[in-house]
């Protein structure tokens, strides 16, 4: 196929059917195309931002090999705009909601609440202690008297024991001294 293409090119050259353009000029024309279109649209009074954006989408998709019509690119632009608007709207809504939430809970109020809570806590403890006190005190007093009595009794018992021990020892000595020594050996 390349052979026939080359031969065809030579044929056109020979019969002067060519209007060749250099590579630099080709690049210039491709670059200039959009700028000239913008100027032309301004001249005929049909230049608009939305239309221009749809042209940018049209040519951008063409660069990636996706061929769409300008009407289709307008639809794409519309869908994109709606998506962006709804997305940003949702973002703004949640953002403001969060900010409002934060603003409605000021720090000073929080501190007051804590103080209140602390006060309440202290009050409740005092109340509890007030409720508990009379019985507790009585119990403690009772406990104290009981322990005192027990200690006194213990002392008396100890003294008695001492006395008994001392008396017992004396008695034993006396008995041992008074008992006659038997000849019968004990078992």
């Amino acid at each position: 196929m390349n052979g026939t293409v080359e031969q065809f090119k030579l044929l056109l050259e020979k019969y002067k059917l060519l209007e060749p353009v250099s590579l630099e000029q080709q690049d210039y024309i491709i670059q200039q195309r959009q700028a000239d279109l913008q100027a032309l649209l301004k001249k005929i009074g049909r230049y608009g931002v939305i239309f221009w954006l749809s042209i940018l989408i049209y040519s951008g998709l063409k660069k990636f090999g996706i061929t769409v019509t300008l009407i289709q690119s307008k639809i794409i632009l519309g869908i994109t705009a709606i998506t962006i608007a709804s997305g940003s709207g949702a973002g703004v809504y949640t953002g403001t909601k969060y900010i409002i939430k934060v603003l409605t809970k000021p720090k000073s109020e929080v501190e007051e609440k804590i103080e209140k809570q602390e006060d309440e806590h202290i009050n409740s403890i005092e109340k509890k202690s007030a409720q508990i006190m009379p019985s507790e005190v009585k119990k403690i007093e009772n406990k104290a008297t009981v322990t005192k009595d027990v200690q006194a009794e213990k002392k008396i018992e100890n003294n008695d024991k001492k006395d008994k021990d001392a008396g017992g020892k004396k008695k034993r000595r006396h008995e041992v001294e008074s008992e006659p020594v038997s000849d019968v050996p004990t078992l």
């Binding site: 090119k9 060519l18 590579l23």
Partner: protein, 173 residues
């Protein structure tokens, strides 16, 4: 309003497709880039104004291009007698007895049945010597697609020439 918006969309598509070859044709005849841009813009403005009555955009553009270039030369006080040479149509030219062959080749190129995109490929590559890559950029195709389509178009032209009695183009070279 809806109709005018649709018209503007179709016009813009036509502009994007035909701008390179129209600009080249003007530049080849005028020689100055800035003048070529002005003339090109004028041609497309006239196209927009008469867009509803235009059937074949490509042939209309080439016809209007000729008129606008004539006017440009007239405004610049250049010799209008030589302007025909600038357009050097196959019918008018007589170069070393090649006239008939030129007409046949030109007819074969013009008459092959192809789509607008294929016609643009043929014009840009065959006439204006555009690279495959640049044509791919203009039409939003891949380089290989352009190369393949151009090969197919050349084969169509050669078949057309065979029908007109030119069996091998090597005879003409």
């Amino acid at each position: 309003m809806k109709g005018s918006a649709r018209k503007l969309s179709i016009f813009t598509e036509a502009y994007m497709a035909y701008y390179p070859q129209i600009f080249n044709s003007i530049l080849a005849r005028v020689g100055d880039v800035d003048d070529a841009r002005d003339i090109c813009q004028e041609v497309f403005i006239i196209l927009y104004e008469k867009f509803d009555s235009v059937n074949n955009v490509r042939s209309w553009l080439y016809g209007t291009l000729k008129n606008v270039v004539y006017r440009y030369y007239a405004a610049k006080n250049r010799n209008i007698d030589n302007i025909d040479e600038l357009f050097d149509s196959a019918g008018l030219a007589f170069t070393n007895g090649f006239r008939d062959t030129r007409i046949i080749i030109n007819e074969a190129i013009e008459r092959i049945g192809c789509s607008d995109d294929e016609r643009i490929i043929l014009d840009l590559i065959a006439r204006h010597n555009f690279s495959y890559a640049n044509v791919a950029k203009i039409l939003g195709l891949t380089r290989r697609q352009v190369e393949y389509k151009y090969g197919q178009l050349v084969n169509c032209i050669l078949t057309c020439l065979k029908e007109k009695g030119i069996i091998d183009i090597a005879e003409l070279l």
